[in-house]
């Protein structure tokens, strides 16, 4: 306690948290490789990990060419959902009419499986980037909004009382208290939204597109090129992991005051 410079890095518990998942992953991949080789499974059914890696290297050009448009759309859709989600959350927080009139509709509309709207978007916006972007945005928008609303509403009563006692104006209370207080929730929303934005982009590329990883997956499926499909899925997963990791990294810097909850004994 009371050690201002106490490190947040966990000791042996943190190392174990890395070593075990890595060991299990390596074990599973090795098992997969062994089974495929031992049983002589054909690559069209299930390629071995080594085969997938070989394809990833050999055909990196086609993979990367299709990764960039998907990645760009994902990031754009995600950014739109963050801006839009936070903006709508502010309206819900500060406007009574919006809170009473629109918030219930937004919550109820969550039950609509958003990807089912993809064909409708094609009717409206055509088979271009706009459709894909709109779907990515739509899918990512809801969790972002809900989390931001929860964040802005989570300032505890004592803190609000304290702020009033020391004569904070509504604007000061927003910038100095409500917004930083909402940051953990906003980041939680962003982590969900980025994964959903990827789903939105891939689904819309399945439906109608001439490029992108979703298109490549569908194409290789049609060509019965399972190794290429698996390589595409792997690349997509790695890209998704990287995006998620970037947000988690940003969170650690932005929400510096919260000792990481998932690491047991460390911290103050």
């Amino acid at each position: 306690m009371a050690e201002p410079s106490s490190s947040r890095r966990a000791g042996s518990a943190g190392t174990a948290a890395v070593v075990w998942p890595v060991a299990v992953t390596v074990g599973l991949l090795a098992g997969w490789e062994l089974i495929v080789r031992a049983l002589g499974v054909r690559p069209i059914i299930l390629p071995a990990p080594s085969e997938i890696v070989r394809v990833m290297i050999a055909r990196h050009e086609v993979l990367l060419d299709n990764l960039w448009p998907s990645l760009t759309l994902t990031v754009l859709g995600f950014l739109l959902s963050v801006v839009g989600g936070v903006a709508v959350a502010l309206l819900i927080t500060y406007s009574r009419i919006f809170r009473l009139g629109f918030y219930p509709i937004i919550v109820v509309s969550q039950v609509v499986p958003k990807v089912s709207i993809a064909p409708l978007f094609i009717v409206w916006f055509g088979t271009g980037l706009v459709s894909n972007l709109m779907l990515a945005f739509l899918v990512a928008f809801f969790p972002m909004t809900i989390n931001a609303v929860m964040g802005f509403g989570s300032t505890d009563g004592d803190i609000q009382k304290m702020a009033r006692a020391f004569m904070g104006s509504p604007a000061q209370i927003f910038w100095k208290i409500r917004l930083p207080n909402a940051m953990p929730h906003i980041f939680a929303g962003m982590k969900i939204s980025i994964t959903l934005a990827i789903i939105g982009v891939i689904v819309s590329e399945f439906v109608a597109s001439q490029e992108g990883i979703g298109y490549l997956i569908k194409l290789s499926s049609g060509l019965l090129d399972t190794p290429l499909m698996m390589a595409a899925i792997t690349v997509l997963s790695l890209a998704g992991l990287a995006l998620y990791g970037l947000i988690a990294l940003a969170e650690r810097r932005a929400v510096y005051w919260q000792p990481p909850a998932d690491v047991g004994a460390g911290g103050g």
């Binding site: 009371a2 201002p4 006692a165 020391f166 100095k176 929400v255 510096y256």
Partner: protein, 263 residues
């Protein structure tokens, strides 16, 4: 009780630092406070003592401008209270520090809110932290502090904008008994330096007797002031004084007053 207690010393302009007149509070049909009147002189340390839920915190929040009275008036240095004021500082039951701000930045929050210059007040904030013996934690985040240290920071925050009146709502009730005694001594040390007027709400008889010039005992809901006890113990006060017969005489008298109204 009488409107103006006999021993209330008048302030410089003849007006008391705090004048509460016939304040009442109703929550619908529930009567929380029934006609409380009270004068507090400049530089006086007054405690409101009563059991939990007797309405003493409600009264303090009305004085802080955070709650509205259903009737009566509250005036600080002759000016009626209509909302939170620059010349009051409030310490709450919990420290309510902002977890993302360093201790120093938490202490400077009222300065930022009131549009005062941070540069002008930062030396004062650091002085306060030094006096509260937490200056080595100026750059630490609240979660790195113990409960007692957090509450010290909260007291510094309440004093940073040089308010004339310090309002404290059971500030030490969440602390363990030993820390609580220490905090009382520390608070008196700060008070000795600044000589602010203090209104201190507590449900601890010993704490009220140890800290105050005057203790007002509040009866069960609806709250009224049922007894007023002047504590004539010498200052500066030391924890050792709580063993003395003089101190215990005050404690017994306060306890009898409470038991008479709550027994």
């Amino acid at each position: 009780m009488a409107d103006a207690p006999a021993d209330a010393r008048p302030g410089p302009a003849g007006t008391p630092a705090l004048a509460i007149r016939d304040v009442r509070k109703l929550y619908g049909d529930l009567e929380a406070i029934r006609s409380v009147s009270l004068d507090v002189a400049d530089g006086e340390f007054v405690s409101l003592l009563g059991p939990s839920g007797c309405g003493k915190s409600t009264l303090l929040m009305i004085v802080a401008g955070l709650g509205r009275a259903s009737g009566g008036t509250v005036a600080i240095h002759g000016e009626p209270v209509t909302g939170p004021r620059r010349d009051t500082g409030v310490v709450f039951q919990s420290p309510v520090l902002l977890p993302w701000r360093s201790v120093l930045d938490n202490v400077l929050l009222p300065i930022e809110f009131q549009g005062l210059s941070r540069q002008t007040y930062e030396p004062r904030a650091r002085d306060l932290l030094r006096m509260a013996r937490i200056d080595q934690f100026a750059d630490a985040l609240p979660h790195q502090l113990s409960g007692g240290m957090k509450q010290r920071a909260a007291i510094c925050r309440a004093l940073v904008h040089e308010p004339g009146l310090l309002l404290m709502d059971e500030p030490f009730s969440a602390l363990d008994a030993i820390t609580r005694d220490e905090m009382g001594v520390e608070l008196l040390r700060l008070w000795q330096t600044f000589r602010k007027t203090v209104v201190f709400v507590t449900h601890s008889i010993r704490e009220a007797a140890f800290l105050s010039d005057r203790v007002l005992v509040m009866g069960r809901r609806p709250a009224t002031i049922v007894e007023e006890v002047a504590i004539d113990l010498p200052r500066p006060r030391q924890i050792a004084m709580t063993e003395d017969e003089a101190f215990n005489r005050h404690v017994r008298r306060l306890r009898r007053a409470i038991e008479a109204n709550h027994g």
